[in-house]
Symmetry: C2
Subunit: 279 residues, 2 copies
């Protein structure tokens, strides 16, 4: 599986994708799922993929070859509107699936892929589309300014709760990282490293681009502090009727620091006893 | 669908269940999925269910009838160990499924159900079990001290991140409510009201029991403040390399209050323009 999320806020676009692909539980690889096409000053596109890797690579390769060929009848560079680009990418996706499904060795394996396309063409505002295996596409809405592909359920609540068009681009990117981290933590089929790209409105290029490994300080700090922040948030939720009122001590202290976190696990010097779970 | 979560911490057990059942998108009802069997001083059990409602009701009814019948060869009251109760409940579940599947009008409909059973018998510590449709059961582990049934993915990350045996019973209950609220917000098939039960270790009765409606002050406060807390947590995560350092102003202020939350949606006085999403 895969997990990719694209977010559209007023300030621009955020793309975040994991890199794990697996044919089965014991055939796990790392492949890039976030692809960037940059034509500075003219247009910029980012594409993320979920589904059959061969289909995706065929489609990306076709898009790249068309864009590099000045004689190509149509390419990423030849459209004035992002919706037309989404239609074109959808056609390339469908033809890639058809080509692969015609080759009979793929029988029994789904050759379908789903894409998220985002970017900006000079003269237009940025946009974000989900392109389905049928080649059809939907845009974000102001009410739901994000799109997900792959293993999307674990990372959806954080997006539903806080993503909105007015938020800062970097805060949207931090939210995407938390959404990815939650999914990676709860599901084996989504894994590190994480690719991130930010396209700020009217930059017409990829503004920032990062690959985060598990031990990248930025990511490991997010990974480590998020649980502390959640735990603190849970502790300061409203009390139940039978509980004593919250003391100011149990809340944030005066300097705004979090209370010390008790150890998540007792150090396992000896094997936990068997009867600790069943009886 | 359904979403129920059971949590086992050192201080006791937490049970939280939604109440929405649906045969299709337009056949939605409210049914209790959290059932309590109390024998004060002797034993206490709570049972939550996901799956076929007729199966569940048949099984619960059988358990109740056996427990009320002093001549019943076996009942919830006749065992000394919780694992034996789990086996017995599993047998009742299997026989309920068999009875319903024999009645041919149920053909094509799954009659399976999955249960979470928790409780305590005098002389033992509390325990929590998941009972599968086959009648077999698993207990929690100290490493994963919670069990979920139904639409479990949305509410899993918060549990994975902060539930551990040492946490307070009420904090575990608050976490369960957040997990339920996240699922209800992101998935239509899980709905209010929410039933909650807490069994404190060695109380041998249901210590606290609540039904939370959307407008119950405790729940609506949790629902409203959680997004604010998450948003604040995202804003105070580590900065990206290109960002200026965080000002103390943008962090928690000196009294530990959250910064003001901008409006989630602009008041919709007029219809948003069509070109705001596609182009």
């Amino acid at each position: 599986m895969t997990y990719c999320v694209g977010i559209e806020v007023d300030e621009g676009l955020v793309f975040a994708a994991d890199t794990r692909t697996n044919a089965s539980l014991d055939d796990v690889r790392v492949h890039r799922k976030l692809h960037v096409f940059e034509y500075p000053g003219q247009a910029v596109f980012a594409l993320m993929s979920a589904g059959n890797l061969a289909t995706t690579q065929l489609a990306i390769s076709k898009l790249q070859r068309d864009a590099d060929d000045p004689d190509a009848p149509r390419s990423l560079r030849s459209f004035k509107h992002l919706f037309e680009v989404a239609e074109y990418v959808g056609e390339v996706l469908v033809s890639s699936q058809v080509k692969l499904s015609d080759q009979s060795q793929h029988s029994g394996v789904s050759v379908q892929s789903t894409l998220i396309l985002g970017g900006q063409i000079a003269g237009e505002r940025p946009g974000l589309y989900m392109i389905y295996p049928l080649g059809n596409a939907i845009a974000t809405s102001p009410e739901t300014p994000y799109l997900q592909i792959g293993e999307s359920k674990y990372g959806k609540p954080i997006l539903d709760r806080i993503i909105r068009p007015e938020m800062q681009l970097e805060d949207a990117a931090r939210t995407a990282l938390v959404s990815l981290d939650s999914t990676i933590r709860s599901n084996l089929s989504v894994g590190m490293p994480i690719d991130v790209a930010l396209i700020r409105r009217n930059d017409l290029r990829v503004t920032e681009r990062l690959r985060l490994e598990a031990d990248t300080p930025l990511y490991s700090e997010i990974h480590d502090t998020w649980s502390r922040k959640l735990e603190h948030a849970v502790r300061t939720l409203p009390r139940f009727p039978w509980e004593p009122a919250m003391t100011s001590e149990s809340e944030t202290d005066n300097r705004g620091n979090l209370p010390p976190l008790p150890p998540r696990r007792v150090p396992a010097r000896r094997d936990p006893e068997d009867q600790s779970s069943q009886q």
